[in-house]
Symmetry: C2
Subunit: 535 residues, 2 copies
């Protein structure tokens, strides 16, 4: 996909890296979820580290979530802490783009976000599962207010360009109809004596009773047109008050049509552990967490600091960096220990004297490609016209997701959608475009689902993570094989250097992975520091 036809200037080195990473990133986020790697955090409320050896210091590379959690805890334990951060802001991938923000991607193109006041898009993480206790506890400690995030919306759409003539279907109809047909098929098989081997007669009675209720079957165990099924999938004419308010039931889609549409593949989103209710988002954008950490750790963080080399010896770690405002001039920082949270995609290119196993591990983890597009519209037509309040429309178009804001419901005025959340090959294709082209494409595709796009669209921003200079990719993708061979070597303290970040966790892509990996790593650094201090 990355060919000479792409009309932007791109360094050959970047191009090669992007192509090289394609192969490894075939294991996509969705696949990982079903492998169970993105799940509940093992975080338990810690009492925090205590009693740093007198004068001990830690240099932290990266003021993302991992780096700032580490800085927060190490400072509290009594360590001298310094943080070097490439960006001019804290948070890393914890980031909200708002009106007035600018962002320059690799290749040199700069986007100026022009969203109205109060509107934002989160190019990185955007939701907080209830069981991600680590990141949630820092929200509490830092006073970051949270609000509900709506993942599954029964009135949002499931869309396939090839099913139902390309007409989007409401989630509730596909959900009710799939469930109803499954329940009916199993009920009929049970009644026909087809389950006599695996299920006892007594349990068959219970099974039938449960299927009727669960699948909205009628008294004959059929999933049919009627008030029972319509009370799941919706009515043709909805009930109301007064005269002529009698409801008219709707007619379920046939099993064959439901199966053939493949829209059922979107029915498990809300069942996956991270996407189960309750979910949260910080009021005002995910970036509020990073911003709060940044304020809390103000005096510890040096921004615009691009690390160029990491060197350890028996007594400490020296890091060379340059100020991105005055490039070419090498600065140095030194501490007893170093916690490096630089994404592996970037770290792999830096000189660093660690063991061969850690070096191999750093090189073994490709980074997923992903593109997110935020679109501002003149009005919240998805609410006003279509009664969609939060949640996600799923489509097999390259944009993959349209996500509606989970806040400001029923408000007048403008709104910002997540207009695309793109993975895999499509993400590379979109990354190869200019930001303007990405936005235009997202609007074109989205218009197939929301014809209001054409009239209502104002402007947008588009972040292709492989063009993000501070991560060069979205998150570390671990194959089962790579994890078996390299994961422990990546996480072990190497001399005086330890790594942390979502890439050093079983929760890839999630901030909780960053939090728990940072706590795990500094715990082990602290142990070493303590044993050295008492030695």
């Amino acid at each position: 996909m990355q060919d000479g036809g792409s009309n932007f200037s791109m360094k050959r080195r970047d191009l090669l890296r992007m192509i090289g990473l394609t192969a490894g990133s075939a294991a996509m986020y969705q696949a990982m979820s079903s492998l169970g790697f993105a799940a509940e955090s093992k975080f338990k409320q810690t009492t925090g580290l205590q009693g740093a050896p007198k004068g001990a210091s830690v240099l932290i590379l990266g003021a993302g979530i991992a780096g700032m959690v580490a800085a927060y805890e190490l400072r509290q334990a009594g360590y001298k802490v310094q943080v070097l951060e490439y960006n001019h802001r804290p948070g890393g991938r914890n980031w909200s783009l708002r009106g007035g923000d600018s962002f320059t991607e690799m290749g040199g193109l700069t986007q100026h976000c022009r969203f109205d006041d109060g509107l934002y898009v989160n190019p990185g993480p955007w939701r907080l599962p209830y069981h991600h206790h680590g990141i949630l506890s820092y929200c509490k400690k830092l006073g970051v207010p949270l609000e509900s995030y709506v993942q599954v919306n029964y009135n949002a759409y499931l869309h396939s360009a090839n099913a139902f003539g390309g007409k989007p279907q409401r989630y509730r109809t596909i959900n009710a109809d799939y469930r109803g047909h499954v329940a009916e098929l199993l009920a009929k098989a049970t009644q026909g004596g087809k389950l006599d081997a695996p299920v006892s007669k007594e349990d068959q009675e219970l099974l039938l009773e449960s299927l009727r209720e669960w699948g909205a079957l009628d008294k004959n165990f059929a999933y049919e047109r009627g008030t029972t099924s319509s009370n799941r999938r919706g009515f043709d004419k909805d009930p109301g008050g007064g005269l002529s308010a009698r409801p008219v039931p709707s007619t379920p889609l046939g099993l064959k049509d439901v199966l053939g549409s493949r829209l059922w593949s979107n029915l498990s989103a809300g069942e996956i552990y991270e996407f189960q209710t309750a979910l949260f988002q910080p009021v005002g954008g995910m970036g509020r967490i990073g911003e709060a950490f940044g304020r809390e750790l103000k005096e510890l963080i040096r921004y615009n600091a691009r690390v160029t080399a990491i060197q350890q010896d028996d007594h400490g770690v020296s890091v060379a960096y340059e100020d991105t405002n005055t490039p070419g001039q090498t600065l140095n920082a030194r501490a007893d220990w170093c916690l490096c949270t630089i994404p592996l995609s970037v770290l792999a290119q830096l000189p660093m004297n660690v063991s061969q196993p850690m070096t191999d591990a750093i090189n073994a983890v490709p980074y997923a490609a992903s593109v997110k597009v935020g679109l501002q519209f003149k009005r919240r037509f998805w609410e006003e016209d279509e009664h969609i309040f939060g949640g996600i429309t799923y489509t097999d178009l390259p944009i993959s997701n349209i996500s509606y804001p989970s806040t400001g419901f029923h408000s007048s005025g403008k709104g910002v959608l997540l207009g695309a959340y793109i993975w895999g090959l499509n993400a590379y294709e979109f990354t190869a475009m200019t930001p303007e082209q990405r936005v235009r494409k997202a609007v074109e595709y989205g218009n197939q689902i929301h014809p209001q796009y054409k009239e209502e669209f104002e402007h947008g921003v588009a972040v292709g993570w492989h063009r993000s200079p501070f991560t060069m990719g979205c998150f570390g993708v671990w194959s089962e094989e790579a994890r078996a061979q390299h994961y422990d070597n990546l996480c072990k303290v190497d001399g005086r250097i330890a790594l942390a970040g979502e890439h050093a966790s079983y929760l890839p892509a999630w901030q909780e992975g960053a939090v728990t990996s940072a706590l795990d790593a500094i715990g082990r650094i602290h142990q070493r520091a303590m044993s050295g201090a008492t030695a």
Copy 2:
């Protein structure tokens, strides 16, 4: 249940009424939902009535949602409007109890709510489905801010005193395991050729593929211990970051145990049309809607006005009432038309000269019994200890529901739960108790699910709707037969009187029923008034 053992003073008349209503209210709310009667509103954004005949007047009885919607629209259309309200506040069943509020129930017992600032319980309606366009549109018009209401919480409990040794199960485990077993059974039946008759070979392939994904089956179509199932039901040891963070899968419950527990009967709550995402609640309590209407219509409403008789003649309607602060003194109000929103339970006892069919209809609708208990605790232990943020725990104990607040997540300090939402026979039993006893009982039962109750409970309030003097019941229960025979007669304009309220709708118990019935009724009054004006 109402026997001499109940230790409160109760008028014989009230007692008889309560017993008399028991029979009819067997058709419970849940049953109604599955009959499809509580469903999407037919409300379409109206342009509103226009052009009242010069000088035309309407007297509205009741400043609940129906009465105030009518007053709002009729005033806008140019009618002279007056509203008589029994309570000292607007809203009727739209009502939040907050610290400082008092409430005297039939029998004379007064409760003083002592909740801390910002905490409340909604004794009446408490959630707004996204498709209840009428009530939502008035929230928008009146500037009532809405926030997400969490109905289904995968980390809340399903509890049966007789299943799993009385140990509450997380919603996510029962949900995942029921779904997984259903999918496995159907997959095995498909593979065993048991579905060859109803499903084509081609569709069988798709069915199998869908069941694997939808039910979290493994590659052999089995629902088994592993990361795939644990990523739905949760892990024994949750994944995290760094070393020793490897997840340990959990073991699914057996089909027999899941079926025998009957906990599956709670798995459809979020599938029912009114409980599907997105759901809302007004910030600060449901009562905010009634309060906003009250401010808007301030000069139209006379509070503390107890209607004692309704009399129409050829030219208008006269209503006798007394001020509850100076009882015994009859006051009168008169207008060209009357919209009566008084609950049928109360209206049935008032002299009113309407046709026999309308009188029969008024007498045909019993009122459901329900009790709600709000409990204040010293801390939000359900969040802090159990990570339950909003949503509902379902139990087969008489308390039926424990509902956790959908707002103030992660905040320190006190919290108020809905500690009981009681229906049917249990509701009569609780209604017969003193408020204090109801609260104590709710705490005793709840303690079986949350052992923290004993330590953390402070105080509570309990509203038994059959002891509410302004409704004498919770909502009108329509049997299919009663509806066929009486519904239209209830809704038709009778001379110069029309009725409105949730009881005059296909959306019983829902505020949307009140809104749409009011709009429907005033539309027909307006037509009559116009035709009279031009006659």
